[in-house]
């Protein structure tokens, strides 16, 4: 990690990060930096590598070249995994289990913030009364809300959100914005992919444009 500044605030530091699959470049070399309380929108056309970037940061894919560190750890190592949460296109919820049971699994796997309960977290995303419904009988937007509340339970500092606004109504989009606001205030950071124009209240957002 000799090339990196010893910035205590840095959560993500990427240096010439690139990814190619079978010699075909998916992600051109990227340099970026994300500190505590910072949010970055990853923008780009379909196929420009937004999801690939998030998967690399989560540690699911290995970069072809370049370096990336999450709180000083390489992605996918124990230290980095404790800091990172990924919300992808697949929400990672079991259709046969209820919302509350799914959250309980998430709490077992990822831990939870002090004094937060599953029911309270579901109420925060507007799913009061749906705690015992099996996930498969919920609508796409409601499933997304359950996944968001599972994300909100944990204490990971880096959120990697892949199209979090998809399937959500206007109130849901506001909800995501509020959740992101609170997360940044707690000293977290977030990388959010989007292809649409979604206004975010906070001023200090960065934009990362991906184009081959």
């Amino acid at each position: 990690m000799s090339n990196f500044s010893t910035d205590a605030n840095a959560i993500v530091e990427a240096h010439a990060l690139a990814f190619s699959r079978r010699d075909e470049p998916i992600l051109r070399p990227l340099d970026f930096h994300l500190g505590t309380g910072e949010l970055s929108f990853v923008e780009g056309d379909n196929g420009s590598g937004k999801t690939t970037l998030l998967n690399i940061l989560a540690g699911l894919l290995r970069p072809s070249s370049g370096e990336v560190h999450i709180s000083g750890y390489a992605p996918g190592t124990d230290g980095a995994r404790a800091e990172t949460r990924l919300l992808g296109h697949q929400l990672g919820l079991k259709g046969d289990l209820s919302a509350r049971e799914n959250l309980r699994v998430a709490m077992g796997l990822y831990g939870c913030r002090e004094g937060v309960t599953a029911d309270q977290s579901l109420a925060e995303v507007g799913l009061c009364g749906f705690e015992d419904e099996p996930i498969r009988s919920l609508s796409a937007g409601q499933k997304k809300r359950v996944a968001l509340s599972a994300l909100n339970l944990g204490n990971a500092r880096l959120w990697l959100l892949d199209e979090p606004f998809a399937n959500l109504d206007r109130a849901g989009i506001d909800l995501v914005n509020t959740m992101l606001d609170l997360h940044l205030q707690r000293g977290g950071a977030a990388l959010v992919t989007t292809h649409g124009a979604v206004s975010f209240r906070q001023e200090q957002t960065h934009k990362l444009r991906l184009n081959i």
Partner: protein
């Protein structure tokens, strides 16, 4: 901040899998029904020859139970892969091997325990000698646990391929042959009044080895599956 311990992840996955099995108890009953149907058909095919049935009954029950366990194996990681839960497990700060151990334990409990109840009953029905019953039960316990561990490794390797059931069975065959030989060896030894402890000791040794290695192998195989 409450950081999740190793045990909390293990327990969360075990609880989740048992709950899922309970929600789909129809599916969980499939293997035991299959084993009963196959074992019941044998006397009709072989004819009502008591001596013949008594001699082959141990082997029939053993093979039927192991094949019945294969029914649920193909789906072990498939549904988790499809709904993204597997990615969440890989990304969790817990050791993936521990989570896989919970997954395999749940599979064994759900699939093998009804078969372990049915196995001795089927053996009795086919006229297995009474002194062989405890040995049949012991070898069923050991070989079903071995099959769960070996099979889950291969299920993890083939989880990413479509319609992998056939491939899985083919890959499992050479691994499961020694298990069947030792388990059946113990049963036939006790039937002939010979010492039967040695084959079971070999099975236990293999179980101890796979108990340690299979969860690690599973975790590695699933990481490869997700990376592709």
């Amino acid at each position: 901040m409450t950081s999740p311990g190793l045990f909390s992840g293990f327990r969360a996955i075990l609880q989740r899998d048992l709950l899922l099995a309970w929600r789909r108890r129809g599916d969980a009953a499939m293997p035991v029904l299959y084993a009963m149907i196959v074992a019941i058909l044998f006397p009709f095919a072989l004819g009502p020859n008591h001596q013949l049935l008594a001699r082959v009954s141990g082997g029939i029950v053993l093979v039927t139970v192991l094949l019945a366990m294969l029914l649920a194996l193909d789906n072990l990681f498939r549904s988790d892969l499809e709904d993204g839960v597997l990615a969440q497990m890989v990304l969790a700060p817990q050791s993936l091997s521990a989570l896989m151990a919970a997954r395999i334990l749940a599979y064994w409990l759900v699939t093998a325990s009804p078969l372990l109840v049915a196995g001795p009953i089927l053996g009795y029905m086919l006229g297995l000698p009474a002194q062989a019953q405890p040995v049949l039960f012991l070898s069923l316990v050991l070989s079903s646990a071995l099959l769960a561990l070996l099979g889950s490794m291969l299920a993890a390797l083939t989880a990413g391929t479509r319609r992998s059931g056939m491939l899985l069975s083919l890959m499992l065959l050479p691994l499961i042959v020694p298990v069947v030989i030792f388990a059946a060896g113990a049963i036939s030894a006790v039937e002939q009044g010979l010492p039967w402890i040695a084959p079971l000791a070999w099975l236990s040794a293999a179980l101890a080895l796979t108990l340690v290695l299979a969860p690690v192998a599973c975790a590695t195989a699933l990481r490869i599956t997700l990376d592709a």
